[in-house]
């Protein structure tokens, strides 16, 4: 039996339709663009292949590419003059007239994964994500031979936007196959270069089932969202599913997996002939599931207590911290940044307070000694 070559299918980020309406997104220059293409989309295990980034409209900028887990960089991954590797990331400086950057990657023995990247244009003050070049699907199938190409699951992403502290960014996923139609995000500190990816998928095997009857599982991934978040997710549920499964509509909830399943505060917004529309509140992004309960006689299902509720954006509750296993390399939480001026101002205040305290102690000691000696003199 001929062993079948284990061919790797590199799932490219399936970005199809981008969010149109973003309330706080920066204006992206039409000309600025970074496009990624691969020398092969199905390298053999251990093979080295080349990723080419085509750059247009960026005069002074930076690019960071993140390769999937299992993929590695060779010892000298690029001939680009200015690059640096950090874990699964490789960063490039784009300095005038750089129109193409190539880097090499070594394919793992198995695994599939998605390449992702974002760029900054420092001169025009805009940013965005690295786009994938269009590829020929027929050619892709031929390369795989008998191995079918995994059907891309519905997904969509919104790229390279900024959110100012206290303001709300609304991301609309219109024209996609997603059940999520809108995400509204508020942050407690300004962030930029944010990417939100929504991808529907089957429940991972190691994750327990959500309670009730699941309608849909989907993942929301946030890149560069280094702030405390309060968000609202609008989603729809098709009416045929509700009726086919005899679902009590009031029990339809959005659940979030954060080590365990948590029911989110969900409310119905509207309905039409095709779907019912809901909105849920969350304090973070991870794996979600839409579920409902069957009708039980005439009595509605009691609403469970919500473990996750929206509060004002202050310090996060301990239960909101994601377990380490859910962190991806691109979601590292950064320490609070302070500018040099803020640091120096803080230092100034500390030094001033310390010296004032020392002076006060000395003065008090002086007068205490002076007084005691004076009383001693008077007594004498």
């Amino acid at each position: 039996m001929q062993s079948r070559d284990k061919k790797l299918a590199v799932i490219l980020s399936a970005a199809t339709v981008f969010a149109v309406l973003v309330s706080a997104s920066p204006v992206m220059a039409e000309e600025a663009e970074v496009v990624r293409c691969f020398s092969t989309t199905s390298p053999s295990p251990g093979d080295e292949f080349t990723v080419t980034l085509s750059i247009s409209g960026i005069q002074i900028g930076g690019i960071v590419e993140t390769i999937p887990d299992g993929f590695t960089f060779p010892e000298h991954p690029s001939d680009c003059q200015y690059y640096e590797v950090s874990g699964q990331r490789i960063a490039f400086s784009v300095i005038e007239e750089t129109t193409e950057i190539k880097y090499k990657v070594v394919a793992p023995s198995s695994d599939i994964g998605a390449f992702s990247g974002f760029w900054e244009d420092f001169l025009n003050k805009i940013n965005g994500i690295v786009q994938d070049a269009d590829y020929d699907e027929e050619e892709e199938e031929e390369d795989l031979g008998a191995t079918p190409t995994p059907t891309p699951t519905p997904s969509s992403n919104v790229t390279g936007f900024s959110i100012e502290a206290g303001e709300e960014a609304s991301l609309t996923f219109e024209g996609t196959d997603l059940n999520v139609s809108k995400i509204s995000i508020k942050v407690d500190k300004s962030v930029s270069g944010v990417e939100i990816v929504v991808q529907e998928n089957t429940k991972p095997e190691n994750i327990p089932d959500v309670s009730g009857i699941p309608y849909n599982y989907f993942n929301i991934t946030a890149v560069n969202l280094t702030a405390n978040v309060t968000a609202k997710i609008e989603f729809k549920v098709n009416k045929p599913w509700i009726s086919d499964n005899d679902i009590n509509e009031t029990t339809i909830k959005l659940n979030r997996y954060n080590g365990n399943w948590t029911v989110l505060h969900t409310s119905k917004l509207s309905e039409d002939k095709v779907s019912s529309y809901f909105e849920a509140e969350t304090l973070g992004f991870s794996l979600f599931a839409i579920s409902g309960e069957k009708k039980i006689g005439a009595s509605p299902t009691p609403t469970p207590e919500f473990e996750e509720t929206l509060t004002s954006i202050t310090t996060p509750k301990p239960e909101e911290e994601e377990p380490a296993s859910n962190h991806t390399p691109t979601e590292q939480t950064l320490p609070a940044k302070t500018s040099a001026k803020e640091r120096d101002t803080g230092l100034t205040m500390i030094v001033a307070a310390t010296t004032a305290l020392i002076a006060a102690v000395v003065i008090a000691t002086y007068f205490a000694v002076f007084r005691s000696r004076r009383r001693g003199g008077e007594k004498e």
């Binding site: 005069q59 002074i60 900028g61 930076g62 690019i63 960071v64 003059q81 200015y82 690059y83 640096e84 950090s86 990331r89 960063a91 490039f92 400086s93 784009v94 300095i95 005038e96 900054e120 420092f122 001169l123 003050k125 930029s192 590292q332 950064l334 940044k337 500018s339 040099a340 001026k341 120096d344 101002t345 230092l347 100034t348 030094v351 001033a352 010296t355 004032a356 020392i358 002076a359 000395v362 003065i363 000691t365 002086y366 000694v369 002076f370 000696r373």
Partner: protein, 413 residues
């Protein structure tokens, strides 16, 4: 023991002041962002290194706005700071694009408006701004009066630069030397311009335009300004001394200033008290018998005339003129006998703090009063020039046919 403790106390109190002074200085940043060797040259290697640090979110990285400034300096400034010499001969280096400026005199605001600098860039303004001439700055932080700005308030604003007045001589218009010293000790970048002298305004505008990267706007204004100035100078410079009218100029009864000398000379007049300051005796004026009397109406706390009154509301200025014309001691003076007594407001003069950058318009009026034959209305129209300045360079919707009183009488009597 008491003495020892006293000495120790004094030493400790003194030592406690030193960190405050040092950290106050160290709190400000200088140099081009990303210029790691601090040689005032941002190289490609330095910029690329700063970009990599930022993109990988590494320790010591620049902030996003700093990196954007670095990119701007690298591309548009050839990686070097912009250097100017201000009006008190100080060499000032600008290390990044200016986004926040504090103005201590209205003249600075007016100059920035001439250069079409965004209003959002101006983050501190002096108090008592003329709200008709500067209608858009009511919501900008006030840093106190021009002659004594609140330096703490300026530091709190944390601007990129502070504009102070140039050399004010012995005038009572504050102490910009002292202000400059204190601001620089706190790490602020100070540039000193005054914008009130006819002949130096073009150079100051050019330099300020360079600092704010508004060279085209500066050039447009300077071309317009020098065209007018040179047309006047070209004619008045050829007037023979005997044909120059003698001029007595006061800002209060029998109070004179050398600040009037230059503008009178440019207009082709001869200041009978040129080079003199202060109070004079009325007998001296009687003796000189000037051909023309100019009275500058000026008030440090309340300007007379200006953009507020209706254009035909010249009563206040007329009253001042009538007072001069009725002075018994001046009845035999040529200017009074010929009714060549003119009132001009400080808005179009060189005085501080209300004159602004419009002394050229005052010069136009003087030229016509001194030499109405050389400057007929068809060749020199001060009101039209003033209107163009307001509309084209200040962006103001003021119609001088309806509003504004600056001279009386407008034409030679």
């Amino acid at each position: 023991m008491r003495k020892v403790l006293s000495c120790l106390l004094v030493m400790l109190l003194f030592a406690s002041c030193l960190p405050l002074a040092v950290t106050a200085t160290a709190a400000r940043q200088t140099g081009i962002p990303g210029d790691t060797d601090e040689d005032d040259k941002l190289t490609e290697v330095e910029l690329a290194g700063a970009i990599l640090l930022f993109m990988l979110e590494k320790e010591g990285r620049l902030e996003l706005n700093e990196l954007r400034d670095a990119a701007h300096v690298y591309v548009y400034w050839d990686g070097e700071p912009r250097t100017i010499v201000d009006s008190v001969d100080r060499t000032v280096r600008i290390y990044k694009p200016i986004k926040r400026v504090v103005c201590t005199f209205p003249h600075h605001i007016e100059a920035l408006r001439t250069l079409k600098v965004s209003k959002d860039t101006i983050v501190g303004v002096p108090s008592r701004l003329d709200t008709v001439f500067f209608p858009e700055f009511a919501d900008v932080t006030c840093i106190g009066f021009s002659t004594g700005p609140d330096l703490e308030a300026i530091l709190e604003i944390d601007p990129d630069i502070v504009l102070l007045a140039g050399d004010l001589g012995s005038s009572a218009m504050g102490d910009p030397d002292e202000d400059q010293e204190q601001l620089e000790a706190a790490g602020e970048t100070v540039i000193r311009f005054t914008f009130n002298q006819v002949e130096t305004i073009p150079e100051e505008i050019e330099k300020l335009g360079y600092v704010f990267e508004k060279e085209d706007e500066a050039e447009e204004f300077i071309d317009w300004y020098e065209n007018i100035l040179n047309s006047i100078k070209g004619k008045t410079s050829e007037v023979s001394p005997e044909n120059k009218p003698t001029v007595y100029s006061e800002y209060l009864p029998y109070a004179i200033s050398t600040a009037d000398d230059e503008i009178i000379a440019l207009a082709g007049g001869k200041d009978v008290f040129e080079g003199k300051n202060g109070d004079i005796n009325k007998e001296e004026v009687m003796f000189e018998k000037p051909d023309i009397i100019i009275r500058v109406v000026w008030g440090i706390f309340a300007a007379v005339g200006g953009y507020g009154p209706d254009a035909d509301d010249t009563a206040a200025l007329k009253e001042v003129r009538d007072d001069i014309m009725s002075r018994e001691e001046l009845q035999n003076v040529t200017a009074v006998k010929n009714e060549s007594v003119y009132i001009i407001t400080s808005h179009i003069w060189t005085y501080l703090p209300y004159s602004g950058n419009k002394a050229l318009i005052g010069l136009c009026y003087l030229a016509k009063w001194f030499h109405h034959v050389l400057f007929p209305d068809t060749e020199l129209d001060p009101k039209a020039i003033h209107q163009e300045y307001l509309t084209r360079f200040q962006g103001l919707d003021i119609d001088l046919d309806d509003k504004g009183v600056f001279v009386y009488p407008e034409k030679k009597g």
